[in-house]
């Protein structure tokens, strides 16, 4: 049976029409390591250095996750990436009523500096690089990391890593916002300024398309909204008086690797080219490092199926291959069981092995941008770039991304795309193996269960901490934080650091800021 021709019309997964065959000529994409960097940011790419294998991981207590980190590093992982549980991301302590049922579930529970010390026990911070997925409370979790470095005797100048810190995509897609956009943007700019001065090797933001795509956007929307978020951050930093070449080299990006192989590679290539032009033509950056787009990639969680979960190993391998052929700087490969739960140790190991097989067995690392000059891929890359500029024009006309978010524009675009995709799947125009075709009986696989003892353990630690610490000092640092927040012109990082060092909890610090900044509530679109 010719299943492959069931799909009509011929489009990418994002709905872009695909021709039967592509012919030349196509524009010369230039050389890797040279502007506009379409073919890669380094002349030698993976011949010089492989991408960082950085598996996003976190669950249960800080002790549980610390053990998983030691395990992953022992298996050849080359960088850490912290997944925090929802209460931490939303600024609540584990013993807050809003945290009920969530403690340790979607990530690791971190309530105070004491938990962060446990999380990095036995992990010298000058020897590893760490990415932290934290947005609304990014200043707080970064401060905790900096305070752990102080305790380990590691100078901040030796620290390498990334805070996600991309609040715009929270309003657009991921929805773990706390404060309204304007004070949130100020906090982001504060981290740029602080990082430039004191933590020069740190990526102070990872401007993320991943979650935009997971929320249902097309590949083009992911690219355009993410790069335009980048523009918005630069505009805010310039308005705050920062110089472009002081902070732009520390901006980094994060994209999704979805299932449409060529469309994804085109997206990464177009991303580099568009960002180069933005930095040069719009912002007149002089330092060459300012206009180089470096990015992390994660394979698409939303493309995993709960049905026949072992098939996900194959999906992840192909998605990861597109990220590598697209020139990613670091990569997370999802585990086969992540449509069901957080990964077991076995599933996490297979995910890491998938990257190692691509790196060491397939040979794709041996030459740079092997698809360069392909009629099809260069055409797709050009279409992606053109579509991006069209979105930029619309967003400029709306007055920028904060204004567009307030009007619900990117949210509506993504919602429409998600619905269109779902209906195409339900009509059988898009086939998902094991879901709407090739269905078969299956036996359940073992999944990781997080029990409620995590919540009890965190609550006990919090109670003990609140008794043990110098509560007068906590009160004073929180008071100073609020005064600084009200003043509006002070960089908040030193004040957050003082709160963290006094063992104020994450929830207490967020409450203090909520009292000044207020909380964001989205209007329903």
């Amino acid at each position: 049976m010719a299943k492959n021709v069931k799909e009509r019309p011929f489009t990418t997964i994002s709905g872009v029409p695909i021709d039967e065959v592509y012919t030349g000529p196509v524009p010369d994409p230039g050389k890797p390591g040279e502007p506009p960097y379409t073919r890669g940011i380094y002349p030698t790419m993976y011949r010089g250095r492989l991408w960082t294998m950085r598996q996003f991981s976190g669950f249960g207590t800080p002790e549980d996750t610390n053990r998983r980190y030691h395990y992953l590093l022992s298996q050849g992982q080359t960088g850490l990436s912290v997944a925090f549980h929802l209460p931490t991301l939303m600024g609540y302590d584990s013993d807050h009523p809003m945290s009920a049922g969530e403690v340790g579930k979607c990530g690791v529970a971190i309530d105070s500096l004491a938990d962060m010390e446990t999380l990095f026990e036995g992990l010298p911070l000058d020897k590893i690089s760490t990415s932290m997925t934290t947005n609304a409370p990014a200043t707080i979790l970064w401060s905790m990391y900096l305070a752990v470095a102080e305790k380990q005797g590691v100078p901040w100048t030796a620290l390498r890593g990334t805070i996600q810190n991309d609040i715009l995509k929270e309003y657009i897609a991921e929805k773990t916002y706390i404060f309204p956009p304007r004070p949130s943007m100020k906090l982001v700019v504060d981290t740029f300024e602080f990082g430039t001065r004191f933590v020069p090797q740190w990526n102070t933001i990872s401007i993320s398309g991943y979650h935009i795509r997971e929320a249902g956007s097309t590949a083009l929307q992911e690219l355009a909204f993410t790069l335009y978020d980048g523009i918005e951050y630069v505009e805010w930093a310039l308005r705050a008086g920062l110089k472009i070449d002081e902070f732009a080299p520390r901006l980094s990006f994060f994209f999704n690797a979805h299932s449409d192989f060529f469309e994804e590679i085109a997206k990464y290539r177009a991303a580099r080219k568009v960002w180069y032009k933005v930095m040069n033509e719009r912002f007149h950056a002089k330092d060459p490092r300012s206009s180089v787009l470096r990015f992390h990639t994660q394979t698409a969680g939303c493309a995993l199926t709960a049905q026949q979960p072992n098939n996900n190993i194959v999906r992840v391998a192909l998605q990861a291959l597109s990220a590598v052929l697209g020139g990613t700087q670091s990569l997370h490969t999802n585990a086969l069981d992540e449509s069901l739960a957080l990964p077991t140790e076995d599933a996490a190991r297979i995910a890491l092995r998938t990257q190692q097989i691509i790196a060491h067995e397939t040979g794709v690392t041996k030459t740079v941008d092997p698809f360069g000059g392909s009629y099809f891929l260069e055409t797709l890359t050009g279409q992606m770039e053109k579509g991006c500029w069209e979105y930029f024009e619309r967003l400029d006309a709306m007055g920028g991304m904060v204004a567009a978010i307030e009007q619900g524009y990117p949210q509506r675009e993504i919602q429409d795309a998600a619905y269109t995709y779902q209906m195409a799947v339900e009509r059988g125009e898009k086939i998902i193996v094991g879901v709407n075709d090739f269905v078969s009986d299956e036996t359940p696989i073992p999944v990781l269960q997080i029990d409620e003892t995590v919540a009890a353990s965190q609550a006990a630690k919090l109670k003990e901490l609140r008794e043990r610490r110098d509560n007068g000092r906590v009160h004073d640092t929180l008071h100073a934080l609020q005064s600084a927040a009200s003043a509006e012109n002070k960089n908040m990082m030193p004040f957050v650091l003082d709160c963290v060092r006094s063992y104020a909890t994450l929830g207490e610090i967020c409450d203090a800021l909520r009292a000044v900044y207020g909380v964001y509530e989205e209007s329903i679109i």
Binding site: L86, P87, M90, Y92, M98, S99, A100, G101, E102, K105, C106, E174, K175, T176, E214, A215, G216, C302, T305, A306, Q307, S339, L340, A341, L342, Q415, A418, Y419, Q422, V425, E426, I432, V435, N436, P444, V447, Q449, I450, E521, E522, I524
Partner: protein, 135 residues
């Protein structure tokens, strides 16, 4: 002409994954249902209050964060207290197989796991609303 089926689509507490909830809400509207979407970060009390105020036939809970075994029992308990006994409760999201019988025992009519088509959920609601034998 029968009255339009009224459905509350709810996202309880911290979980912000709203792609599914929004797709479902739109599919329900296209199917002719009256849909009330709560928005994010609703406490169990707020969800039940909305169900009461809006006089809905169906409450659809969307949970992808793993907190369903805490949140669903709490919401069902509050619904019983408010005597919302003939309201159909369905749950969608990342719900592991072993939790399904436990949720059904508590009064959830059906659980829809990842990959379910919206058409199947709509058909289920049409079939079970108000005539659900469990209630």
């Amino acid at each position: 002409m029968p009255e339009r089926i009224r459905v509350l689509v709810a996202k309880p507490v911290l979980d912000g994954h709203d792609r599914g909830a929004k797709v479902i809400a739109r599919a329900f509207r296209d199917a002719g249902f009256e849909v009330i979407y709560t928005g994010l970060r609703q406490t169990p009390e707020q969800v039940v209050n909305a169900a009461l105020q809006e006089d809905v036939d169906v409450v659809g809970l969307s949970v992808l964060s793993g907190a369903h075994m805490t949140l669903c029992p709490r919401i069902l308990e509050l619904m019983k207290k408010e005597k919302l006994n003939d309201v159909l409760v369905i749950v969608g999201g990342i719900i592991p197989d072993p939790d399904i019988p436990k949720l059904k025992e508590l009064g959830v009519s059906e659980i829809f796991q990842p990959g379910t088509s919206t058409a199947d959920i709509i058909a289920y609601i049409r079939q079970h609303v108000r005539s659900n034998g469990q209630h």
